[in-house]
């Protein structure tokens, strides 16, 4: 059980987070195709976020009901929020573009 040596777990967590950060920084300087680069970065970002919440924030050792409330609640609401912004962003953007074009003689 990881809780037997908490300080060691935290040290490992710290090293893992730093290693992932270094990987991300080296990807930044490597000339990768845009789509692959963004996918790898987002994957590394989500891995870091999971490591922080699981070990630093102890979610790995909490009851499943609490973890479900936090993870499902946050992910679903964030996704809905994100999806709802699309049409509005498009609309405002089209309005702005329309105004610029209308201003021309």
């Amino acid at each position: 059980m990881a809780e037997a040596h908490p300080l060691r777990t935290y040290a490992t967590t710290w090293v893992a987070l730093l290693a992932l950060t270094i990987v991300m920084l080296s990807l930044e300087s490597a000339a990768l195709p845009r789509g692959l680069f963004v996918s790898l970065m987002v994957a590394a970002m989500l891995a870091k976020a999971s490591i922080i919440s699981a070990y630093f924030m102890h979610l790995r050792f909490e009851r499943v009901s609490l973890v479900a409330m936090i993870v499902i609640g946050l992910l679903v609401t964030a996704t809905v929020l994100y999806v709802l912004i699309v049409p509005d962003a498009r609309r405002i953007h089209d309005m702005a573009v329309g105004q610029t074009m209308g201003a021309r003689p």
């Binding site: 730093l18 950060t21 920084l25 976020a49 009901s65 936090i70 946050l74 964030a78 929020l81 962003a89």
Partner: protein, 202 residues
């Protein structure tokens, strides 16, 4: 009825503690969810502004990536010392708890100082809320909004850390109190992971 079902009903059928966590922890997590949604909203809005707008600047020309990496290193390390502080508080080692909390606060202060320096640098280069020399006018607005809100959270965290250290020194702080300060501090680190990736690197 299987034993597992009986166990579940025992917990949920009018159970008083379905999360097996104290009210402080449940409330702190509820706060973290809502506060996380604030940043999710900012980042979603930033994503669409960037996709729909024209000519988003190349961040590596505006910011120094090694400098931002150093800020990230400081914040991740302060999160690690905070985890050690929570453990020391659980083990009832008061001097170690205070030492680790102060170390964490020092990390937070260094991070804030570095951010202030970065703001000064970009403002001198001509970045404003509505304009900047590099590209899309919204770039400045999103930079100040997102890093500003995150910096405010770090500053709030510093106050929480210092008051927790003070309370621990007086013997007034419970291990759970230190743990809640820790949860908030890790959350600030968590948000930075998203900002660092989505705003500075991608």
């Amino acid at each position: 009825m299987t034993q597992a079902t009986a166990h579940a009903i025992d917990r949920w059928g009018g159970g008083t503690c379905p999360f097996e966590a104290g009210w402080r922890k449940v409330m702190m997590w509820s706060f973290i969810i809502t506060d996380g949604l604030l940043f999710a909203g900012f980042l979603a809005s930033y994503g669409y502004a960037r996709l729909l707008g024209g000519g988003w600047p190349d961040q590596s020309q505006v910011f120094s990536v090694p400098y931002i990496a150093a800020m990230t290193f400081v914040l991740i390390s302060s999160s690690a010392t905070m985890a050690a502080a929570v453990q020391a508080a659980r083990d009832r080692q008061r001097p170690a708890t205070i030492r680790y909390i102060l170390l964490t606060a020092a990390g937070g202060a260094i991070f804030l100082g570095m951010q202030a320096f970065e703001w000064e640098h970009v403002i001198e280069a001509g970045m404003r809320l509505g304009q900047n020399p590099w590209g899309d006018a919204a770039f400045g607005a999103y930079f100040f909004l997102i890093t500003g809100f995150h910096g405010t959270h770090v500053a709030t965290g510093l106050i929480v850390l210092l008051s927790t250290a003070l309370r621990s020194a007086k013997g007034a702080s419970s291990p759970e109190g230190v743990e809640m300060a820790g949860l908030y501090w890790h959350f600030v680190d968590l948000v930075w992971v998203f900002i660092f990736t989505l705003f500075y690197l991608v």
